[in-house]
Point group: C2
Chain length 341, copies 2
């Protein structure tokens, strides 16, 4: 008998004798092994029991099981600079090579200078010019190939690792735990939808159609052989931050999530919207309080605000008031990265 | 032994003895029983075999199996007026009741007159005013409840049936046939995304997150109890017609379909984009040539153009040139509607 037949037969027998196979699996291995016991882990386990047990008054039918995750600072490192911004800055020399006249124009001149201090001081308008120049104007396929090439070679300066290795192991376990319980996991990110879709399936197990992000328009056209293709246009369709997150969820999913995970004021409305739904929805916020294993930043810790993932005291207060669960990276996570010993 | 256990056991035994359960099922019942034998039916069956047989050079991995369907004129009746336009016209009295000043303003005055001839002559700009007034300005939940109420009571004047009964049985079979073979079926409609999502799951088995349509923006806000909600805004985000269809597919799905189905020039770019993909993609067009059981209309039949689903001779020529399959409603469909004897 083939091995997959044996597995199926075991499933049939387990079902015949009333043993639910998932409860057996749970008893054997902890799906959240990188989480320390505590209120955060407990909240997740209770949420799964409350929403997947048919006998529970909070039971959620499988087709409605939607969980949404912010990416930067929630699924992978965002400090000191969003990875996509690093990508855009790294792309500037290639863009200037194609359009040499940009070399003498700001903000490209500053980026080419390589001065980290000067680049960090660029105003938001200049940053948008860099994003537009490096993220649009090419075909969708050219963009995807370019991002893949960059991810294969770029290394984070602190860990000397590829950016896709800087994903949080406890959150990867949580994604799998939710999916094993019938939840469809979505990314809802302020980052570029097309950028994140390049690696989300491989890194998070999240397919392109489940990535909602800041999106620019595309323009349909034909190449010289009459073959149609889409060009990325500098026209903002969805700014998937703050109120844009629930708006983007409605546009792209059309259902209210039952669980949402974030780490900053940009995720506030997504968590509010989720928590205002029926049943026993779950809202959680990652707090970056681990300077040793990752970073500690943000006003909620009494630390200066940074350009990334602002976690204000007001957000912390709202979390407490509305029963959102704060995840302390320092005390709730046994391991942060898969590459740690 | 419970009956579902018996089914599972049969599956295990069939697998053990090398019998693929789907081929047995196909031998027993024809999944496309409402289709006459002919080139259209043959093209669909060959497409499924070519893309789901592991040994085939055109095999498509399950995660990439995407099929997109236009709705009006492809999945349900669009003639003589799109169902959603009927909804909007029916809503005008309620809108005017809330804003009495509109009663004396065009185009509302004409709609209230009830003159079908005058309404049919309204220019496109006036139609947009009616759409904006009846489809926006309320919460997402209010809109959904309103559409549900309308669908429950509105009847088509010719068949005296609810609009959701006027879906084409052969196309419903095709949706199921594709899904049974691992394809995810999407609607990609020029109609309103929020409108179609209200009934798509019940009528077509297509969940809200797989409905791509013309979409207006929403605005996040709070009610007097501080509970967040989304208001539908008169701000067009995606005009999901013509080039907007492949652009919408990229935005909402992020993958190129392997099969696409339409019936008019509004679907042209979606079919071109699909057919330009790798492997053996399938593109099909429904031709409304059955005046007796449904309608016959459009220039490709030498008939006058109508305000709905324009099927030009140029589209017919492009179909022939690029190997798109034209479905003749008259000769390819054994039955048109489920309610027919």
């Amino acid at each position: 008998m083939k091995s997959h037949v044996r597995v199926l037969l075991a499933f049939v027998l387990a079902t015949a004798f009333g043993l639910a196979p998932d409860s057996r699996a749970l008893a054997q291995t902890d799906p959240l092994v990188s989480w320390n016991d505590g209120p955060a882990k407990q909240a997740m386990v209770e949420f799964i029991h409350a929403t997947t047990d048919h006998a529970s008054p909070k039971f959620v039918p499988p087709e409605e099981r939607i969980a949404t995750f912010d990416q930067d600072g929630t699924l992978w490192v965002e400090h000191p600079m969003y990875t996509q911004v690093v990508y855009c800055l790294d792309r500037v020399p290639a863009v200037v090579k194609e359009k040499p006249e940009l070399a003498k124009v700001e903000p490209f001149k500053t980026v080419l200078s390589g001065s980290r201090a000067a680049i960090a001081k660029l105003p938001m308008d200049d940053l948008f010019k860099i994003l537009a120049a490096t993220l649009t104007g090419m075909s969708v396929e050219e963009f995807q190939a370019e991002v893949k090439r960059w991810l294969d070679t770029a290394r984070d300066p602190r860990w000397k690792r590829s950016h896709t290795e800087l994903t949080y192991l406890p959150m990867i376990e949580l994604l799998k735990y939710l999916r094993a319980n019938g939840y469809r996991t979505y990314i809802v990110t302020g980052g570029g939808q097309d950028f994140v879709r390049v690696y989300a399936e491989e890194v998070y197990g999240i397919p392109p159609e489940q990535v909602v992000g800041t999106a620019s328009g595309t323009r349909y056209g034909y190449d010289k052989n009459g073959r149609p293709f889409l060009t990325k246009e500098p026209k903002l369709l969805l700014n998937d931050n703050n109120a844009g997150k629930p708006e983007g969820i409605h546009l792209m999913i059309g259902r209210r999530p039952y669980a949402a995970f974030g780490n900053s004021t940009g995720d506030r409305q997504m968590l509010e919207y989720t928590k205002a739904g029926d049943g026993a929805p779950l809202a959680m916020l990652v707090l970056h309080d681990d300077a040793k294993r990752e970073y500690a930043y943000g006003p909620a810790l009494g630390l200066p605000d940074s350009k990334v993932g602002t976690f204000t005291q007001a957000l912390h207060d709202e979390a407490t008031k509305h029963g959102w669960v704060v995840i302390s990276m320092k005390s709730d996570w046994r391991r942060v990265f898969a590459f740690e010993q």
